[in-house]
C-alpha cells in the first residue's frame, strides 16, 4: 500500500516532470546560437533580409554529412547595380560555426563547396554587397556527425598527395564562366578519430586560399573545420583577358601550396 506521503511525493514528482517537459521547447528556443553568432562574427552589425538578393542552396537532408554540397549565390535583379563583395557561410550548430568567409572579385556571384554538417541546423549565408550592407538568408539542414565522420581517403594517401591542386575552367557554361579549384588536403576537423588507434586526429586544415586571375584577386577564402576533406570550390567569374590563373593556399601547419594554370581562350 502506498502511504499518503508517498502518493503526494509521486504527484509532486509528476508535476515537476511535466513542467520540465513543458519548458523544453522554450529552452531549445533560447539556445538558438544565431543571435550570439551575429554579435561575435559581425560585431553586431545590422543584417538585412537578403531574400531576392542572395540565395543558399543545400539539400534539406544530407546524404553524407561529411560532404554536403552548398551553393551561395547573389541573385541581384537586373538593373540593380550592386555586386557581392564577400560571403560568409555559417553552420549554426557546428562546433565551429563559421565554415568559411569569401572575399570575391569581378563576376564571382556564385560559390559552391562541400561542408561537414554535425547536427540538425540552420545554415546562414551572409553577403556583403557593394552598398556596404550585410544581407542574410538561411536554410535548414538535417544531418548528423559530419564533423567527426572518418576520413574517406587513407592517411598515407592523403599525406602523399598533400597540397596537390587542380584547376578546371568551364568556359561558356551557363550562366557565364565558371572555374573550380581543388586541393588535396585531409582538412582534419580535430573531431575525427583514427580508425585503428581511436585517438583523435589533430586539427589540420587549409585556413587560407587565394586565387588570382592575372594580377586580380578573384577569390579569397578563410576556412574553418567545416570544409570537407579535399577542399573544393567552384565559382562563377568574369574573364579579364589575363593569360594565367594562380592559387596559393596555407594550412594550419604553415605549409604553403601554389599552383598556376593557363587561362583557356575566351569563347
Amino acid at each position: 500500500m502506498l502511504s499518503i506521503g508517498r502518493v503526494v511525493g509521486l504527484i509532486a514528482l509528476a508535476v515537476a516532470l511535466s513542467s520540465t517537459a513543458a519548458q523544453r521547447p522554450l529552452a531549445a528556443e533560447s539556445s538558438d546560437p544565431w543571435p550570439d553568432l551575429v554579435r561575435d562574427v559581425f560585431a553586431g552589425r545590422q543584417l538585412a533580409d537578403g531574400t531576392g538578393l542572395i540565395a543558399i542552396d543545400m539539400p534539406p537532408r544530407a546524404e553524407d554529412a561529411g560532404i554536403v554540397p552548398v551553393t551561395l549565390s547573389a541573385i541581384i535583379p537586373p538593373g540593380d547595380k550592386r555586386v557581392p563583395v564577400a560571403f560568409t557561410l555559417i553552420i549554426d550548430m557546428n562546433p565551429a560555426p563559421v565554415a568559411a568567409t569569401f572575399k570575391v572579385g569581378p563576376g564571382v556571384t556564385t560559390i559552391s563547396t562541400r561542408v561537414r554538417v554535425n547536427d540538425y541546423t540552420n545554415v546562414h549565408a551572409v553577403a556583403e554587397l557593394s552598398d556596404g550592407q550585410l544581407y542574410v538568408v538561411s536554410t535548414f539542414v538535417k544531418a548528423s556527425g559530419g564533423c567527426s565522420a572518418p576520413m574517406a581517403k587513407n592517411p598515407e594517401e592523403a599525406t602523399a598527395n598533400l597540397g596537390q591542386m587542380r584547376f578546371r575552367q568551364f568556359a561558356g557554361s551557363s550562366p557565364g564562366y565558371e572555374a573550380q579549384i581543388m586541393i588535396r588536403h585531409p582538412n582534419n576537423s580535430g573531431l575525427q578519430r583514427d580508425q585503428i588507434t581511436h585517438l583523435y586526429i589533430p586539427l589540420f586544415i587549409v585556413r587560407e586560399l587565394r586565387l588570382w586571375q592575372g594580377d586580380q584577386l578573384l577569390l579569397e577564402m578563410q576556412g574553418g573545420i567545416s570544409i570537407s576533406e579535399d577542399p573544393n570550390f567552384r565559382f562563377s567569374y568574369r574573364p579579364n583577358g589575363a593569360a594565367t590563373f594562380r592559387a596559393e593556399a596555407i594550412d594550419t601547419e604553415g605549409h604553403v601550396f601554389r599552383g598556376e594554370w593557363p587561362a583557356q581562350p575566351a569563347g
Binding site: D57, E63, D64, I67, T71, S112, A152, S173, D230, R234
Partner: protein, 112 residues
C-alpha cells in the same frame, strides 16, 4: 561456404563507404575464392560467385556515370541525383543510399 561480410550486398543496394575503384578491384580478388555459396553482409545465402554479378554491375555503372558527369563538368549536387539511377530497379533501398554512394564516388573520381 564464403562469409563475405559487407564486401557483398545482395538485394540491398551496396553502400559505398570508401573507394569505388578499390571495391571493384577487391571484387575481382574475391571472385577467385573457391566456394559454392556465400553469406553476404546484406541479403540471403546465394550461389558463389554468381552473387557478385549484380554488385559489380552497379558499382561499374556508378563509376562510369560519375566519370562521365565529371568530364562534362556537371557539379556534384546535380550529378548525385543522376549517377547510377539506371540501376534502381535491381535493388531494394536504392533511394536511401544511391545519392550517398554517388557523392562518395564522384568526390573520389574527380581526382583521377
Amino acid at each position: 561456404m564464403l562469409f563475405a561480410g559487407d564486401l557483398l550486398f545482395v538485394q540491398h543496394v551496396p553502400v559505398l563507404d570508401g573507394s569505388v575503384r578499390g571495391w571493384l578491384k577487391t571484387i575481382e580478388d574475391l571472385a577467385r575464392i573457391p566456394a559454392t555459396s556465400v553469406v553476404p553482409g546484406h541479403g540471403g545465402v546465394s550461389d558463389w560467385p554468381d552473387a557478385l554479378a549484380a554488385e559489380r554491375t552497379y558499382l561499374q555503372r556508378l563509376e562510369s556515370d560519375c566519370r562521365d558527369l565529371i568530364k562534362r563538368g556537371m557539379p556534384l549536387a546535380q550529378a548525385a541525383d543522376i549517377a547510377g539511377t539506371s540501376q534502381k530497379s535491381n535493388w531494394e533501398l536504392f533511394d536511401e543510399y544511391n545519392k550517398r554512394n554517388a557523392t562518395a564516388a564522384y568526390s573520389e573520381l574527380e581526382w583521377e
